[in-house]
Amino acid sequence: MTGTERGTLPVIDVVRYEPSLEIDCGLAARWLEAFLSDELIQRRGIRRAVVGLSGGVDSAVTAYLCARALGPENVTAVRMPYRTSSTASLSDAQLVIDALGCAARTIDISAAVDGYLHYEEDADARRRGNVMARTRMLVLFDQSQKLGALPIGTGNKTERLMGYFTWHADDSPPLNPLGDLFKTQVWALARYLGVPAAIVDKAPSADLEANQTDESDLGITYALADRILALLLLGYDDARIALRGYAPRDVALVRARVEGTHWKRHLPTTAMLSNTAINEFYLRPVDY
């Protein structure tokens, strides 16, 4: 007899399931291009897009995708600095404008924001940030009206799940190509699309206050938050997530963020009084 194993046999362990955050960037880019051209041109008959360019990676990727879908000549990038905004935000946004060769406007929102806050001098940083975010949306919708364009949203899945955005501001554009991609996936897509490294590699920031970064605001890195979110969305409880090596503190932080912000991912709550309440009984899809 040959080949008979004697003594201790090798043991092969199972691999614990963990959802992959890897994406095929070429496929993602093609799919999102098709999404934008189908939704804009075919469904709405609109050929132009307006993107608010912050200097960050989400809006850069959005602008790149719009340029691929519609041609750069049909994309208008709008920079909307406030007087305390970082100058790096403006110059990083310029890198995108130069790379794409799209039309661009710079509209300083300081006078509009300060015109209101003049009456609210005690407004704290959060309120000021919200006023800036909502003013920027006012500008984007108005520019879109002027240009016969549609404003395109830039929010990613991580910030949507963590509730890290201003309600009815960042989330208000009618189309959002990145809303089902985690932040780390947006970074991967950005590298694939050739977004300048200065934008992809810098620490993400809402730039509503000096020296603000997302990860210090959130108390967790995106890399870690995304892995925990991916498990949480599938229905894994905290103990099963922790089994995969995540710190209970991080898991609790992410879960609290998600569970405290479900309302931010919905339209306003309407009192239901009839058998024909809109979106409760009267159900029609958005593209009908």
Binding site: E22, D24, L27, W31, F35, P285, D287
Partner: protein, 294 residues
């Protein structure tokens, strides 16, 4: 048999415009020298898939759809290009009961005859899907006679349950026609969406296990952010993909189908015959008949 799978990208809810667009495709097909025998369209081909409550506005009877398809064929292809068989997925209004259905139609120069209507058995109602909120379930799967031999119609999730294509094959189907509408999910594949890859695996496995052709017609186009993944396929009875459409965009898959291949494939891999032999034992399992798997 000359086959066309027409992967369409309908405008949501615009039945008349979508039928007019289909008429142009009929004219394109009829312009070929050798006539087509069978034309297969996807699920919800003339309305779009996600309709919610609008399904009650757009559903029509099988007879009404047959009439419109027959007229459209004759008007665009010319009555002399008949006969042709047409399969289409549609939302069916059966005197106030609504189904997600597919019909098999024979069209000749003057009239049209419905050979079969299949009502979708498995209505996905989870996650992004909400079919059973609006629709009723079909109750059976049949194999029906056509001029090319026996075939079965199965709609989308019907095929995700291995027992359904198995029953169709046991009832004698030599081709499974699968109108479908599948929204894209999963980007971690190698150049292919995970949901498309899953379909491909299922179709090839069933085709080779039972020695059947599978004609899979996928709906294309974005519906409120959900991208329907086209990816229509002709799979041969050895499980080989004979033609495959891309996920995006409308197109036609064309194929010459030789049903003699079914006999050859089954002779080489007689799994369906083996199943027929063992099936009575399996069916007399009391635990199975009681509907309890435990």
């Amino acid at each position: 048999m000359k086959l066309a799978i027409v992967q369409v990208k309908p405008r949501k809810g615009e039945f008349e415009a979508n039928l007019a667009a289909l008429g142009e495709t009929f004219a394109q097909l009829a312009a070929e020298e050798r006539p087509y025998d069978l034309i297969v369209l996807p699920e919800a081909a003339l309305t779009g898939y996600f309709l919610e409550g609008a399904v009650y506005e757009l559903a029509l009877s099988a007879e009404a759809l047959a009439q419109r398809l027959g007229e459209t064929w004759r008007a665009n292809a010319g009555a002399d290009r008949a006969p042709v068989d047409i399969v289409a997925g549609f939302y069916e209004n059966a005197e106030g009961t609504y189904y997600n259905s597919a019909l098999y139609l024979h069209v000749d120069g003057r009239a049209q005859h419905i050979l079969h209507v299949h009502r979708k058995l498995f209505l996905p109602t989870y996650g992004v899907f909400d079919e059973e909120r609006f629709l009723s379930r079909g109750r059976r799967v049949d194999a029906f006679e056509t001029r090319f031999g026996k075939m079965s119609l199965l709609v989308c999730e019907d095929v995700w349950h291995a027992i359904v294509p198995t029953i169709a094959a046991l009832k004698g189907a030599r081709a499974l026609i699968v109108p479908s509408a599948s929204p894209a999910r999963g980007l971690d594949g190698d150049g292919e969406l995970e949901s498309v890859r899953r379909w491909e695996e299922l179709l090839r496995a069933y085709a080779s296990e039972h020695g059947v052709y599978i004609f899979y017609a996928g709906l294309a186009g974005f519906e409120g952010g959900k991208g329907m993944t086209g990816s229509s396929r002709i799979v041969g009875p050895r499980g080989e993909t004979l033609a495959a459409a891309p996920a995006l965009g409308a197109c036609v898959l064309r194929g010459d189908i030789d049903f003699g291949e079914v006999d050859i494939a089954r002779a080489n891999l007689p799994l369906l015959g083996d199943l027929n032999a063992v099936l009575p034992d399996l069916l007399f399992d009391e635990a199975l008949r009681a509907g309890r798997g435990q």
